[in-house]
């Protein structure tokens, strides 16, 4: 032991325990060894594949991957399509829909989720029944619920027809058949699916707020509305951010929603970028264009997520 101590004195900069034995070296490395497989898997199967996709987007891959670089033609086409609004190119439709859908879906889910969570937090009898009712849509695949929604929104089968039968004959609701409104039906179904989950996140956040803060605010004379606006909602900020991440990733991955509900919509008017990507990669055998659209999707995600990750994960002084 004394010899070891001397060694340390000789190499004072050596921070890790310069361990007497291989075994203690192993002990020190153990956490990294445990993490390594997961990390390696992520690097290969996520980042490796992203690189592969980027590579393909610069080739002229069609039905199958081809590995001869032929330049940025796929991007040139996407760029050109970006500005073809009349008649709208499929890409133009996809990205404008992404804007509409993304904004409304995230905004309504957040608002509705928070609203329901606040209502549920008012010492409600039957909360145990209501909560799973709000939450269950997240459990079901859209292969399952798509048909029910399609019927419900179909003017000849669902809501419109029912209300007509009940005597409200002037009622008109045919968004799902309308090229300009079909994307909003996708929003409705999407909100239905995810808002309960967001509600659960907010409910958890509300339950985590210190009751004394609420009491103090009440003593200060805040009305219920002020209490939530000035005290509670600011305290829920971290949950807003987490919920945003969850919703953003769901919005960007939304694919089956569009297919099951609208089969793409009239004249392809309900497409989202993920539909575009799938269509071009697998159906139209234009793999290079499909890859390029995937790259652009990933770049958009990066632009949104990375600042968030940076602000959340920055090493704080402890």
């Amino acid at each position: 032991m004394t010899t070891v101590a001397t060694q340390i004195k000789l190499t004072p900069e050596h921070n890790a325990r310069p361990g007497a034995s291989v075994r203690s070296h192993l002990q020190d490395a153990l956490p990294k060894i445990v993490l390594a497989p997961s990390f390696a898997i992520t690097i290969v199967f996520v980042y490796g594949f992203i690189l592969w996709t980027i590579y393909l987007s610069f080739t002229n891959s069609k039905t199958f991957p081809s590995y001869a670089i032929t330049g940025p033609r796929a991007y040139q086409r996407l760029w050109r399509w970006t500005f073809e609004s009349d008649p709208p190119s499929s890409w133009y439709t996809s990205i404008t829909n992404m804007g509409i859908f993304g904004f409304l879906y995230i905004f309504i889910c957040l608002a509705l989720g928070l609203f329901l969570a606040i209502l549920l937090d008012q010492k409600i009898r039957g909360e145990g029944v209501l909560r799973p009712i709000y939450l269950y849509p997240m459990a079901l695949s859209f292969i399952v619920t798509g048909v029910a929604w399609k019927w419900f929104l179909d003017p000849g089968l669902g809501l419109e027809q029912t209300l007509h039968q009940w005597g409200w004959t002037s009622f008109h609701f045919d968004w799902i058949k309308n090229k300009d409104f079909v994307i909003y039906t996708v929003v409705i179904a999407g909100v239905w699916q995810a808002s309960g989950f967001i509600m659960a996140m907010f409910l958890a956040g509300l339950r985590g707020i210190d009751g004394e803060i609420m009491k103090a605010a009440q003593i200060d004379g805040a009305t219920t509305f002020q209490l939530y606006r000035r005290i509670v909602i600011p305290l829920l900020r971290p949950i807003f951010l987490s919920a945003f991440i969850v919703l953003a990733h769901l919005a960007i991955k939304s694919y089956d929603l569009v297919v099951a509900l609208t089969s793409g919509g009239p004249g392809g008017s309900a497409w989202l970028p993920s539909n575009f990507m799938y269509e071009f990669t697998f159906k139209r055998n234009e793999m290079a264009v499909g890859s390029a659209s995937a790259v652009i999707m990933l770049m958009t995600i990066t632009a949104i997520i990375v600042p968030y990750l940076y602000s959340e994960l920055r090493e704080r002084p402890r």
């Binding site: 992520t42 292969i143 048909v147 029912t162 009751g211 939530y228 990066t302 090493e315």
Partner: protein, 314 residues
Amino acid sequence: MSAVATPARQVTGGISARTVNRIVIYGLLALFALFYLMPLFVMLVTSFKTMDEIQNGNMLALPQAPTFEPWIKAWSEVCSGLTCVGMKGYFWNSIKMVVPAVIISTLLGALNGYVLTKWRFRGATLVFALMLFACFIPFQSVLLPMATILGRFGRFGATLQNATGFSFGLGNSTVNLVFVHVVYGLGFTTLFFRNYYEAFPTELIKAAQVDGASFFQIFRRIMLPNSLPIIVVTVIYQFTNIWNDFLFASAYAGSGDVMPMTVALNNVVNTSTGVIEYNVNMAAAMIAALPTLLVYVVAGRYFVRGLMAGAVKG
């Protein structure tokens, strides 16, 4: 947080403002419950109707002559392709894929979270950020390269089979699916556990170290037993996602003997010709969704509690 009780300021006609308040709140909650329940209701009533009633009646009307026929047919007779054994045959295929995938991804997520919070090293945050960002990759774009690699595994498995008489599961469709779901579930499970363990008292780990517990002993004896809420959240999340996956399942495990529930359901529901038996389709859909519904209803209570315990923290 305690609920905010608005004290009754004035009494109007015997009904206090508080009572009005409560009525409004319950009314709104009930209204939204209807909104959420509507599709489930449509599916349920349709599954108990005869085809006649479906074609001629209203979709929201209750069945006039309820019949279990569609359920029986969906359970034991319905066809996926040329195989007509009902949905019951595919339960086991799904279970045997979902259970290992959930267990492995949850366990790895827990280990990763443990290392990333309690055994920090230089670059740990970057590693975590990279793993988290992986959640966002669109699955359509990994379908083909993943297939190529799974093919390699399969050929390697065949080589092993020849050399050792055992393929170690390489090339087996179910094993492939488990692998794929573990790979693309890791980001989320790691996120969940990392956020939970971030708030987990580090002094407990120090105490255990002083007590002489090793890296794995601390994990098994201290971390895991105290992770129930987040395990519930992760398991629910992973279970529903993997159970409901169609893309990977159809691409990597399409043949009848390994086909998971969603692919079978898709084959039942998404037929392109013939009279569509909506009642049977709905019953089949309900059967396919039963496990996930059950998980949400049974574990739903722990779900919010689990979220509270750290999953939602930034």
